[in-house]
Each structure stands twice: as C-alpha cells, then as structure tokens.
Symmetry: C2
Subunit: 210 residues, 2 copies
DNA sequence: TTGTTATTGTGAAAAACGGAACAATATGAT
DNA sequence: ATCATATTGTTCCGTTTTTCACAATAACAA
C-alpha cells in the first residue's frame, strides 16, 4: 500500500495541471511537460504513474483524457464526495461559501454549530444545530468532515463525529488531534504554515548575507 | 543548514504543545511527553532538539520555559511579524478577522483588493487598493504576504509582490505558483488536502475489508 | 557512599524517497 | 525496409529521514 502522502499530493497536482492543459486544447502530454507544470522531475512523474500502473506510449506520451480518468479514479473522484463542516465561524462559513469544491466533485451538504444564532435551515447549505450531527452523519452516510471549531472544542467535536462514523477529518483547529481508531486526521494549520515560511525566509536571508 | 520542512513543522507543534502543558501548570517535560502530545516518537523529539543544539537534563527532562524560549527564537517569534493579505474575498477576509495570529506574534496589518467596493481605510485592518501595494510593502518593509486571490489572478499578484520585495508567500490559490528568485512560496490547498484525505480513507477502507 | 533507575544525546542501522541513467520500443523520416 | 530519434518504464544509486539501541549521566534511595 502507498503510504507516501506527498506522492498522492503530486497526483492531485498532475490532475489539476492536466485540466489546465486540456482546457488549452492539448490532447497528449509528456512526462516532462507535467514535471514543468507542477515543479518536479520527469522521472518522478513517470515513477508516480508506474506505482499506480498507469502507462503511456513510448514516444507518444500520455493521452490526457485517459490519464485524467485514471487519476480521478485513484483519487476517488468518480463519485460525489459529501462533506460536512463542523463550526460555522469565520473559517467554516468561508469554506461553505467557497465555490471551488464543486468542480472537484466535493459537495459540502451541511454545516453545524453549537450557537443557535448561527442555525439556518433554509440556506442552500443549511447550518444545523450540533445535536443533530450524529443522526445526520448516519442518515447521509458522511465519511468526511471539515472541523473548523475553536481549539478548545476541537478534540471533543472530533471524538463526537468519529464516534458517529466519520472516517476522515480535515482539521483547521490549531491543535493536533488524537485520531480515534479508524479515523484519519489531516491538519491544516495556517499559523504553522506561516511560522514555517518565516523560518525559511529568515534562514535564507541569513545565509545570503554570509 | 536545515532544509527539512517537516522538522520545522514539528518544532512549531512542540512549541504549541509546550504552551498547553505550561498552561496546565507543568514546569518540565520529557521527550516522550512531547512525542505523545504531537504524535511522534521520543527519539525524534530528542533528535530534532539536538539538531538545533537544544539540550535537556539527564533524568530531568527539559525545562518548559527555557525550551520555549529556544524554540521561539528558532522560529523567529522574538519579533513581531507584519503580514499583509492580498485579496479580500471570503478566505482573505476570514483570515483578516481571525484572532489566532496575534498570540503567535503575527500581525496582519493590511489587506489589498482590486475591487473598489472592498476598500475600507477605516477598518482596524484597512483594506487598500491594489495599486498601493508596492509602496506599502516598501514603506512598511513587509517580508511575508498571504495570497488569497482567485487562481486566475494568482501568478500575476505573486510576481507583483515578489518584485516589491516580499520574501515569502503563503498561497491559498489552488494552483502551483512559480516562485520568483529570492521568494519562497508555501501552498495551502484545501481541495488537495481533502483529496488526500479521501484517498487515504478509501484505501484504508479497502484494506480493512480485505 | 554505593547502587539503581530514568532519561538524555548520539552514533549506527534501516527505511523511505527522489533523481539519474539506460534499455526497450514506438514513431516518423529517408 | 532501415535508421535515427524521442519517450517511456524501471532499475540502480545517493541522499535524506526516521528509528533503534545504548553509553553516559544525573537524580534519588538505601
């Protein structure tokens, strides 16, 4: 089994680049085109494909449409992914309003919040009270949730939705969560990303001076 | 020089965990406490520290306050970091309203947008027209920018702020950017993170069945 | 003091990863 | 038909990263 997270991220990037190339009218692509497009090496592109049994044509490159089909299948994009957002604060609402997911086959079908003032059942994407989340997850067979609650509430919320059957959580709380058994947690942490950036900016500046 | 991004991310996580432990009244910590707190191994904690010349006490662990001082210094948190946000749409505004940065010594001092309707000079964090960004960056010596513009505008915006002197960009556009010489780009891509999560959820589910 | 124990710090081993190289081969030219 | 060329698929190799293992040693107990 592939455990290399970076490899899967590269597949997503290839996929996105392929859509752009397709929109420009290209029909086939070579490994070094893709490498340029995502900032890698041609070897690595070919190796990534080979890991998943994707093959092209000697001297002919890869057919973009069939390549996209295979990548989409690997990435689980051959079925609509229903996702919920837990926490309807600034970040949660921004994510619910974001229109970029739909074209990726990801549909946010509801938000949840503990604050009664945030409840809104008539929205295109309704915001429901937290008490209903367990039933909702079961009824709609939700497997993926985005967690955008304050850090103090994050672990409890994570435990709750894991127990209700969620299998993957994208966590925006600035806090590492203990994943319940059988539930994968990916963290998106803007503070940490910024700290990282600051570190490397500082280091390269120092190095440049020396 | 350390080039290992994951290692620096771990330092941030250690730092965050240490603050939590400190708030709970702890004064010292052992490598395996930290490993538990961030989800790693005790060896790795010690090795990460050893890379940066951080040492503890045999049988006594590490003093939390002095450890925090050292980590904060490595992560550039001994001075306030002024940051601008480019793009005042949903994500840009959510980031500007987010209060979590201040306690990390990161201060968003202005936003910029091309849409005149979004301009607001009297806000605590003013939103200024894009034409002023170059002068602003130079005047205020801005080194870090958060890019939250639509993908179509992202590369152009990145080029502009790099040329104006920005040294690091945190890019929220769902698109890999070509970094100008001397400018580091970190990407935060929620779609890709979700795809990644979906992939691993699917794979572990399949593996479990088999 | 002496012995026991817990924990660090690091050197060595193992694993994971990415990149270079090249044989295999399909395509197109002559 | 033959040759030259471009590109893939994969093996091999170097590097990076993680884990293991244990000597060194500080703290504590008897």
């Amino acid at each position: 089994m592939i455990t290399n997270k970076n490899c899967i991220i590269r597949l997503s990037r290839y996929k996105n680049a392929l859509y752009r190339l397709q929109a420009l009218g290209f029909v086939k692509v070579f490994s070094d085109n893709l490498a340029d497009a995502v900032g890698g090496t041609a070897s690595q592109v070919r190796k990534d494909f080979s890991i998943f049994g994707i093959s092209g044509n000697k001297k002919g490159g890869y057919q973009i449409d069939s390549l996209l089909e295979k990548l989409n299948s690997i990435l689980g994009k051959d079925q609509l992914q229903k996702v919920i957002v837990v926490g309807a604060g600034h970040i949660g609402s921004a994510l619910m309003r974001y229109r970029g997911f739909e074209k990726e086959g990801i549909k946010i079908i509801a938000g949840f919040d503990i604050d009664p003032a945030k409840i809104n059942r008539s929205n295109p994407i309704p915001v429901l009270p937290l008490e209903e989340i367990k039933a909702f997850i079961k009824t709609n067979n939700i497997r993926i949730a985005i967690l955008a609650v304050p850090d103090i509430a994050a672990q409890q919320a994570a435990d709750m939705i894991c127990a209700a059957g969620v299998k993957g959580i994208l966590n925006f709380a600035p806090l590492g969560l203990k994943g319940a058994e059988g539930c994968i947690i990916n963290n998106v942490n803007v503070e940490i990303e910024l700290e990282n950036l600051i570190y490397f900016v500082n280091v390269t500046e120092k190095t440049r001076k020396a």
